[in-house]
Symmetry: C2
Subunit: 349 residues, 2 copies
Amino acid sequence: MSLRGRTLPIQVGSVVIGGSEDVVIQSMTNTKTDDSESTLHQMKSLAKEGAGLIRVAVPDKSAVESLPFLVRESPVPIVADIHFDYRLALESITAGVAKIRINPGNIGSQEHVKQILQSAKKHGVAIRIGLNTGSVGRVKNRGRYAMKLLGEYIDFFEAQSFHQIVISLKSSDILTTIKMNESCARKYAYPLHLGVTEAGIGQTAVISSAVGIGALLLKGLGSTLRVSIAGDPLTEIPVCKEILRATGLYHVGVKLVACPTCGRTQVDIEALANEVKEKTAHLRESLTIAVMGCVVNGPGEAQEADFGICGGKNEGLLFARGKIVRKVPQDKLVDHLLVLIAETIGVTK
Amino acid sequence: MSLRGRTLPIQVGSVVIGGSEDVVIQSMTNTKTDDSESTLHQMKSLAKEGAGLIRVAVPDKSAVESLPFLVRESPVPIVADIHFDYRLALESITAGVAKIRINPGNIGSQEHVKQILQSAKKHGVAIRIGLNTGSVGRVKNRGRYAMKLLGEYIDFFEAQSFHQIVISLKSSDILTTIKMNESCARKYAYPLHLGVTEAGIGQTAVISSAVGIGALLLKGLGSTLRVSIAGDPLTEIPVCKEILRATGLYHVGVKLVACPTCGRTQVDIEALANEVKEKTAHLRESLTIAVMGCVVNGPGEAQEADFGICGGKNEGLLFARGKIVRKVPQDKLVDHLLVLIAETIGVTK
């Protein structure tokens, strides 16, 4: 069993993080939380795209005032992100959020943290201890220092009999992030929230998140994840899904494998693959479809694929599990593929 | 020392793969190789973008005929990709390529492989043994079977006193790819060429490559890599660079860290980060620049960054190594940043 499977299952509203549950995809709104209509609108879009849990920033009292409405209307549980002011944490808890995210080191005195723990316990609210090497202060080995702080926080939480804990340990340096999470998983049974902080913009953010989060998931760590991309949070969800799919943890819908085009290819693989992707986007079944450029090698190379097509000069091949089904004219390849899939899985378009 | 650092350094024309050398970025042309002008044009673009080694498909005699011209004109060493016909391998070697990529299992009889090894040895040409689980035939555990075949090939190569070997082991399944490469590195000292085969299209290909190749690089494996993306091979190079950067193996130019926007952010981080990225793209110095959205936390959180800016409502902050340099008007942030960088590193724009 992976380390992930041995973590404590933590109830977060209707969602469970940890234990044998699927890895939960999270996102965070970038609207002003006190603009409750815009925030709810974005939450609904994120949930529709696949977010199982959504975090909102609660920087002040007016953000808190939006929470009861958001909690009532949101399709998924809400996490309140709180810094510096323990009263915002207390008020978010009574407003009905399912989880709060705090850094116990910047939320106030031990007495204040104790009040938060008591209230969270009473209301069944989970707490993510969010540690970021960026916020531990000016020390030499920030990764090691963050781990020392984490130990102190967990001791304190447990001394208050509080165990509904999720932990995140982040750094803009991926190697540090990996080390901290490994060290945490060896020591504590609380589930891990994975992320790479300050990941960059656009493709840089996608790649650094895929490398960092992917490496941890492959080590069997992490029960929930968020990919941070500056800009529209909706773009984060497909990236989460692809990272989970690449690490064997997501199985919904079509996995497309396409051979890289090379000098041997006689068709436009990219166009063909895009067409297949588009026309199979409605399928929820876990299927692997291969789009290959080489009639000689294609069916054999892609024998793990459930279905596949090979483009040839005028005539292509339709195959399933490595076996050729039939030859078809090149321009009818995708149509034949869709019919074959529909016939096999019993889905009509 | 990483396993990578303990591999044999393999000479490939003017490039060395393995040992203590930097990880070499590769790509592959998707032009018809017999169209030598188009192929050369693409090779030059790929080399300019950062490819250190370029593979071309050699599917037939007319492709071989382009090779002397390409070898003479190419800015980087050439790898000939050959399947099925050992004579194409022999002819590519005498045409002057620096390396050939073959699967010894599909190139002909042992006698033919022996001829290839003798000629490659005579001409100082390296050989990549390329094994893809897709091409090992219809067996049950294709990963394990591929490793058995690899052992036989290496024994045969070594029996002919041929050691100028690079190895690639690929599968469209990332977990299998990782296992095979780890097992290979434990057993053999030859450098590894990393890749994920049939990685998909667009963002799927980028993410599955980042996860698979990234995980191996983080394990200290891999001396050269190629990211396979269906479509224009030029898009592969920046992805290779970002994967290497994320794993701490690439240090040229600006690493941009941007905090993810959230409800606390008061500026458009994405636009600001894009502007910084664009305006620092000419720098070759290894610099980390942070673009943060929060004047309270920004400078501290990004203290590892060499330079940074924090956007505020009307006024932003300029900082360096976590220390505030000065407040500047929001709309002059990037200008001030560029001047500060130029003054510090002594580069004028």
